[in-house]
Symmetry: C2
Subunit: 328 residues, 2 copies
């Protein structure tokens, strides 16, 4: 990899369509090094807001359900319609993603040929919740680079679901035929936030089972809170052998995207506030353990006071000494 | 329940052997209300340090393995030897503990008759990790009340294990015959920290299986770090029909307690430091969300800045404004 570009130049290049610059910018926002965070901040200062925000679709489901296949077909369909599509995908060689090295080469082979598509495999840890904020930052970069449709793939565990719900404008849950049984508690969070539910592999021998699974979902009591006031969630059967099934989901998602448009600024804003507070907490916790006053108090407490004091009041007093109360 | 006693009086009474006062004091330290925390702090200020610290034994294992039965027999044995025994036990009627209401009355029926024993059922949530600090505070109160041997029973899930390892001087893991299979990953943390491992119900039809299970544990590769330099973990078979088996474990535990004595002040100290920092973090997080400066920054970020800034640098700057750097 050549020398690091200055952040401003990286910002300009990615906004001119330079795919390498976009990839390097995403790597930068995934970094936890302080110098990279400073550089990323400067890069962001040079991003122009697009005329209209991109649409962000989260796609979730257990390993093997057919996410890559669907993204390949659906993404290609979007490109055919004139969209520019970015995919923030799970790295299939990561042990936690459930993918195989052999599958690597054939994951999104149609879409990867398109000039108007950008596919970024991220380490599973990025998507799995450690760097949730990096995902939304990456989406912002793709938006600035001109991709109007951004797909965020997650691996189907509780933690990544929670954050994709925050980052995405809508969530599509893919389920295996027979995958409706029990609606396990661990998956319930996933199901509650899905704006679209589709049963994959609904063809041949599995067709009947797929339809049965769809019925289970359609009839299950649901804690789904519609993200858009006038829209309930929709249910779909998907088969890669049936382009009409993909087109049908696509139409539904496009309709959602239209309805979502006026809401997006508020959604982005809420997400930004939430991320800011999360980063605040995380940074405070790091600082706590290294702050001289707190270290001194912790050691004083540990050496003598603990036999005669509980930590609660002392901790609160320490924090009161520690925080300034300026209201600005 | 009669009127609340002033904290100082509660402290005096419990140290004079008043069991009701001890129970009320434990309830106080379990409370999360600020006024109770202040009262608890004052109570603690009036506790005298005992001549020698109590010994704290954590007893862990899956529901049904025989913890209550063992505690009943073992605790009675300790009372016979002249100890004063406190048991911080899981409330059997709590849905998460796996106990039954019918079993309630027969849980520790020998021990509950002893004047020199104090049994405190705590809500499972207390033991399960929400109030880990309350457990160590309760142990401290029992110590001040003159109980020289404190048993802390946990329910056998990952979270409660981690904190009983911190609070207790030693951990005894009870396992079912046949319970060695696979040494499930979820239980591995439990096993790594057990200073004693005993297979229960090692009599009659289950004897052979119990012995086989013991062999599996004895021969399994282990990540156990000895808590005491000169002492490896020990393995035992237990049968409630065989008092000698209980006496044998008891002898081992007593030997451990002797060796542990000079280390206990340092262990308590480390635990106190760790608890202080945990409470600091928890309190800071609560404060973050309600602090006027942080709220103002979060809202400014959400309304305008987020399109052009990442939260990391801004959060760090906010914290710098927020924390005073006085080294005392």
């Amino acid at each position: 990899m050549s020398r690091a570009l200055p952040p401003q130049e990286l910002a300009e290049r990615l906004q001119q369509g330079d795919r390498h610059a976009l990839a390097r910018a995403i790597t930068l926002v995934e970094s936890t090094l302080e110098k990279d965070q400073v550089a990323a901040d400067e890069l962001f200062a040079h991003l122009k807001s697009p005329a209209s925000p991109s649409f962000r679709l989260g796609i979730t489901g257990a390993p093997g359900v057919g996410k890559s296949t669907f993204i390949d077909t659906f993404g290609t369909h979007l490109c055919d319609q004139g969209h520019r599509v970015a995919v923030l995908a799970i790295d299939p060689s990561s042990p936690t993603s459930g993918g195989s090295l052999l599958g690597d080469k054939t994951r999104m082979d149609q879409l990867s040929l398109r000039d108007s598509a950008f596919i970024r495999p991220s380490p599973a840890s990025t998507v799995l919740g450690g760097l949730a904020i990096a995902t939304s930052a990456a989406a912002r970069l793709c938006e600035a680079a001109g991709y109007d449709f951004i797909i965020i793939e997650t691996v189907g565990t509780g933690q990544s679901e929670r954050h994709v719900v925050d980052v995405a404008d809508a969530v599509l849950l893919l389920v295996e035929p027979g995958g409706g049984d029990g609606l396990q508690a661990s998956k319930r969070g996933l199901i509650e936030h899905a704006d679209f539910i589709a049963v994959t592999k609904a063809d041949g021998d599995l067709r009947a089972l797929a339809e049965k699974t769809l019925m289970e979902f359609t009839h299950a009591p649901s804690a789904y809170t519609p993200r858009l006031p006038a829209r309930s969630r929709t249910f779909h059967l998907l088969s890669m052998h049936d382009p009409a099934s993909v087109a049908s989901v696509s139409v539904e998602i496009a309709a959602f995207a239209e309805l979502a448009r006026p809401h997006q600024p508020a959604w982005r804003s809420q997400q930004a506030e939430s991320e800011f507070l999360q980063v605040m907490e995380r940074t405070l916790i790091e600082r706590v353990r290294s702050h001289p006053l707190i270290q001194a108090q912790a050691q004083a407490y540990a050496s003598a006071e603990h036999v005669r004091r509980l930590p609660f009041v002392l901790a609160k007093q320490t924090i009161d000494q520690l925080l300034v109360d300026k209201a600005e």
